[in-house]
Symmetry: C2
Subunit: 333 residues, 2 copies
C-alpha cells in the first residue's frame, strides 16, 4: 500500500483573488459580516433554486476576479463543480465565458479538488491563471437529496444543513500575492461501511483521517488544519481516528461546517455541509487569517461523501474522500 | 477572445494499456468482435443496472491494467467520471483501490476530459502513471434521464442510444509504448440555444466545431479526426459549421456514435451516445488502428451535453463541450 501521494509544487502558485456569496442563514451566522455578498432571498430574484445557485456561483467568481484585477477571459482554465445532478450549476455558470472548463465532481470536497486541479494546471504549464469555483444551495440540495422544503421533513441531530453559498479562488503563476499554494494531495476513496444518510460527517471522517495521517506522517505540519464539513460529530470521529495513530490535532483544528453556523442559536443540527460550506469559509475567514499573518501555513482538507440518493436506496455504504491543499504566507516561507 | 488553449506536452506520455467492456447490443454491432468483454446480461449478474455499470467500469480498468502489466496500486492517480447522478459508478468502482481519485464530470466528453486531466498530472509530475476511465449503461441512463425501460417510451429519429460500456486507458511516463499523447485542449462551454433533449448531437456539434476550428487554425492537422458521439445528425451539423469557416474534415472524420452501431440493422435511431461510447470505440478500434500503423496521428474529440433533466424541465438550453486529445504513433513522430 502506498502512503505518499503529496506533491510539493515547484512553481510559485499564488492566490491572487478570492470571493464568495452566501444566503441569509449563513449571513446570520458567526461569520456573517465577513462574506462579500449576503442574499436575503433564497431565490436570488430568479425563478428556481437552481438558477439562484448559478447566480451565486457567478457572483463569487466575479468578486474573486475583481480582487485579482483581471477579467474572466484572462483565465486559462476554470475548474468547478457542485452537488446538482450532472453538475449543472457550474456548467451553466461558466457558459458565457470563453475559458476552457474542467468539470469536477467531489461532492463537498470540490473546493479542494478544484484548487488541486488548478494547481496541477499551473504547475504543468497548461495554464498561467486558473479559477477554482464551487457552490451549493440549501433549497436545491434538500429537494434533490432529501425532500422538498414544503414537506417539512424532520432531521435527526446528526444531520447537517447544506450551506447556500459559493466560493471562488484565483490562482496565478504570472502575478504574485501574499499567499501561495505549496502542496497538493488528492485523496483516496475510503469506505468504512457507514449507511446512514443523516451521518455524513461520520462517513467523511475516515477519509479526512487517511489524508491527514499520510500527510503528517512525513514530518510535515502546519499552523492550522481546516477540514471541510465534518461538523460536530465528524470532527469528534476524526479526533478518535487520529488518536488511534497517536496524532492529536485538536489544538490546531477547525472545521468549516462548525464555523459557518452557531449550533446553539441556529437550527442547523450538527453543522453546515455542501460544496459551498468550505468554499465560503475558506474565502471569507481562512485566507484572510493567512493574509493578516495570524497564521503562516494552513492545511485545507475538504471532505466529500460520494453517494447518491439511489445508492443509499440500494443499501450501499457511503464512501468518503478528502483532498488536501497546503496554503502558505509567502513572507513566512 | 482567446483562440489558443492547446498544450503540447513536453514529457513523453505513453499509452501503455487500454481495455473495455460492453453490453450485448454493442457486441452485436460492427465492432462486436473487437471488444475485450461483451456481457450478455444487462445486469451483469448484479441486482441493479447501476451495480452492473460499476462492474463494467472495474472490468475495463482491469483489462487495461493487464495490458499495461501493472496492478491498480501501481497507479498514482485515477481520473474518472460517468453519467449517473453524483458520478457514483466511478466512485464505487475505485473504492477498493488505494489510489488518489479525481472525480470528473464532462457528460459524454468524459473520456477525453479524464485523458486530459491524467496527461496534465503526468506532465506536472503529480503522477508517473495514471488511469482514465469512464462508463455508461443504457438501463441506468434511460431511467435517470428519460423513462424506465418498462414504460416503453417512443423516441424520435434524432435520439441516440446510450451505450452500455466502459473504457479505460493507462498513461505512463516511466514505461514506453507505441502510442503517446502529444497534445491536449480542454474545451469551452458552448451554447447555441438548442432545447430539444432528443437532439444531443445538435447541442454538442457547436462545441466540437469550436474546439476543432481552434486546433486546426494553427496549422495543425492529423490523419484521423474522431469525434465522441455526435452520431449521424450531429456529424452533419459539424460539417456545416466547419464548412462555414472554410474547413472540410469529411475525408478524415469518423464518429464513435456512428461506428459503434449499425444504424440500418440495429434500432438505435441517430447512433450511440454516453460516456462509454467514445471510451469503448477508442479502446477497441481507434487505438489499435494507431498501433497497427494504419494511421500515425489522431485527434480524439469527445463531446458532452452539460444539461440535466431538471434544467430541461426549467426550459434552459443545452450547453455543449468538447475536449481534444492528440494521439501519435511514436515511430512516426
Amino acid at each position: 500500500m502506498k502512503t505518499e501521494f503529496c506533491t510539493e509544487l515547484e512553481k510559485a502558485v499564488y492566490v491572487t483573488g478570492y470571493g464568495n456569496c452566501v444566503g441569509k442563514t449563513e449571513g446570520e451566522g458567526p461569520l456573517g459580516d465577513k462574506f462579500d455578498t449576503v442574499i436575503d432571498d433564497g431565490y436570488f430574484a430568479e425563478a428556481s433554486f437552481e438558477k439562484a445557485e448559478v447566480k451565486l456561483h457567478k457572483r463569487a467568481l466575479e468578486r474573486a476576479l475583481e480582487r485579482a484585477r483581471i477579467t474572466v477571459n484572462d483565465l486559462d482554465i476554470i475548474g468547478a463543480g457542485d452537488l446538482l445532478n450532472q453538475c449543472v450549476a457550474s456548467a451553466y455558470a461558466v457558459r458565457e465565458s470563453n475559458v476552457p472548463f474542467v468539470g469536477l465532481y467531489g461532492a463537498c470536497s470540490t473546493m479542494a479538488l478544484s484548487l488541486g486541479m488548478c494547481s496541477m494546471a499551473l504547475e504543468s504549464g497548461f495554464a498561467r491563471r486558473g479559477a477554482a469555483v464551487t457552490s451549493s444551495h440549501f433549497g436545491s440540495a434538500e429537494r434533490q437529496f432529501r425532500y422538498p422544503l414544503e414537506y417539512g421533513g424532520q432531521r435527526p441531530p446528526s444531520a447537517q444543513r447544506t450551506v447556500t453559498g459559493a466560493g471562488a479562488v484565483i490562482l496565478s503563476t504570472c502575478e504574485s500575492a501574499d499567499i501561495r499554494i505549496s502542496a497538493v494531495r488528492f485523496g483516496r476513496v475510503v469506505d468504512f461501511g457507514i449507511t446512514d444518510i443523516n451521518n455524513m460527517g461520520g462517513a467523511m471522517a475516515p477519509a479526512a483521517a487517511d489524508t491527514l495521517l499520510n500527510y503528517l506522517a512525513h514530518g510535515r505540519d502546519a499552523d492550522l488544519i481546516a477540514t471541510g464539513d465534518l461538523a460536530s460529530i465528524g470532527s469528534e470521529i476524526l479526533y478518535d481516528l487520529m488518536a488511534q495513530e497517536g496524532v492529536d490535532i485538536r489544538s490546531k483544528h477547525v472545521d468549516c461546517g462548525k464555523m459557518i453556523f452557531d449550533a446553539d442559536a441556529q437550527d442547523v443540527h450538527a453543522g453546515g455541509s455542501g460544496c459551498g460550506c468550505s468554499a465560503a469559509v475558506l474565502t471569507a475567514e481562512l485566507l484572510p487569517r493567512l493574509e493578516r499573518g495570524e497564521i503562516n501555513s494552513m492545511l485545507f482538507v475538504a471532505t466529500g461523501a460520494l453517494m447518491s440518493p439511489l445508492t443509499v436506496q440500494q443499501k450501499e455504504s457511503i464512501p468518503g474522500i478528502a483532498h488536501l491543499i497546503r496554503f502558505e504566507r509567502v513572507e513566512a516561507k
